[in-house]
Symmetry: C2
């Protein structure tokens, strides 16, 4: 099985590692606009060969793991290059714009819209790790638009990598993922910004920061090149989440100003049951 | 060494475990308003004996690990009960109000104001763990007001438990800790609230949540009984941090509304150097 990884960073590289381990016959070809990333991926043994779009015609499987704006731009071209029996899936964090862009492409049936809910705050080939996808949810959109035989190939890969599949339409996907993922990233970036601004002249104040602070700002380490396009693609949903988040924070501040600490206690207690909701996520 | 732990939960219980391991001769007495907690702490071997305020006169060391409002209420009474050679330290997350309350107490010299920057989102005796304090920062306020011999006893405990000491005045402590700890907790609670409110009718949407969401809302599992009093004690500083955080989120939303994704990219890139700041915190 010839597998082309477009974008050999954390997400694409981690797919490469797991697919190589799960399929004896897999040969991994890397395509990346960064020669440095390609060289690193080759040196680390993540890919077997460097390659390019011209060779996509030989691919059995193409995984597109680049920022979502680049995916919208390049997916039509990638589909133009692949053969009729090739499966192409992407792994982007927004799905509506991409599914719209590709809806009338003559090779739409070769494409599967996927979003594996997995990652870390790191990026680049050196961030790729084995078993990143094991036990994780993979959201598939518009599965009915993919050729049945190619759906099966995709499912075989996801299954061997240990992923749980959920099906969803692209509009619902983008709406809900704004709440459970995109908002967290903004919350974290702005928390980091607020504290850095305040403490810029007192660097050693971060000695006072504990694991709680580290946990809440962890996502502020994420790649802007990946996240700015996600916010752009999912603009309306993300703005809605921000409005609600800001309203809740403002209400909390108002309760504090009014010395209503009983209600603050209640607010926190009501949110405490996030414990049970989060069970199983780590 | 007779050690009295007032409040046998996560923080007090973890001190008990480590002190018992570090001092062969230590005997641990537990005092708690909850009989259930006391029984559990005894059963778990965290304390050696159940005790009460009347026995405090025998204490060599008293650790007050209860919510900050209760500490303000009970610390004067605890000091009334201890003998002249006893060291009492608290571990609360606010220091100004407490230091003010106790400033004219006739046993002020027996008290050391401490804030070990350590914890988890869990609570109760069953949450107590060994080595919670190893490598962590312990902030000591107004050290000069504690009897020298008793300072030494405290430092011996902190040193054997592997803590790094930083000295700070209570006003600075409360101001900076609002940024690097208290704001994180509100950010996390309100994030949890926003998402739970939105998705309350679609519970399985949390299947879409990944480790990023779990990390940002982890602190929303924290105990309201502990945190509501902290926000009350540190009201002015916390309101200031909230104002700045809300302003930054509002500015981010405005940039999105204006489609200024270049500036959004810049904002995130500027905050990315939190990576180097956070090095060493986990």
């Amino acid at each position: 099985m010839k597998v082309f990884i477009i974008g050999t960073g954390l997400i694409g590289g981690s797919f490469a590692i797991d697919i190589k381990a799960a399929f004896n016959e897999a040969v991994i070809y890397g395509v990346d606009q960064s020669q440095e990333h390609l060289d690193k991926a080759l040196k680390l043994g993540i890919i077997d060969h460097k390659s390019d779009f011209e060779n996509l015609t030989h691919a059995d499987l193409v995984i597109v793991a680049i920022p979502v704006d680049k995916t919208v731009e390049l997916l039509p071209i990638i589909l133009d290059h692949v053969n009729d029996d090739s499966l192409v899936f992407d792994v982007g964090s927004t799905k509506q714009k991409l599914c719209e862009t590709i809806s009338n492409h003559h090779k739409r049936r070769n494409y599967l819209a996927a979003h594996p809910i997995a990652g870390t705050e790191f990026s680049g080939p050196q961030a790729a790790i084995a078993n990143l996808y094991r036990g994780k949810t993979n959201i598939i959109c518009e599965v009915e638009k993919t050729a049945f035989k190619l759906q099966e190939r995709g499912m075989e890969v996801f299954s061997r990598l240990g992923m749980r599949i959920r099906y969803m339409d692209p509009i619902s996907h983008d709406k809900h993922i704004a709440y459970v993922s995109h908002l967290s990233h903004i919350s974290s970036f702005m928390l980091g910004k607020t504290v850095i601004e305040k403490e810029k002249n007192e660097r050693d104040i971060f000695d006072m920061a504990g694991s709680g602070f580290a946990s809440t700002v962890r996502l502020a380490k994420s790649s802007p090149a990946m996240w700015a396009p996600i916010f752009k693609h999912n603009k309306e949903n993300v703005i809605e989440t921000l409005q609600e988040y800001i309203a809740n924070l403002t209400q909390f501040k108002k309760l504090m100003e009014e010395d209503d600490f009983d209600e603050i206690y209640n607010e926190m207690e009501c949110t405490n049951h996030i414990k049970s909701i989060l069970k199983g996520i780590s």
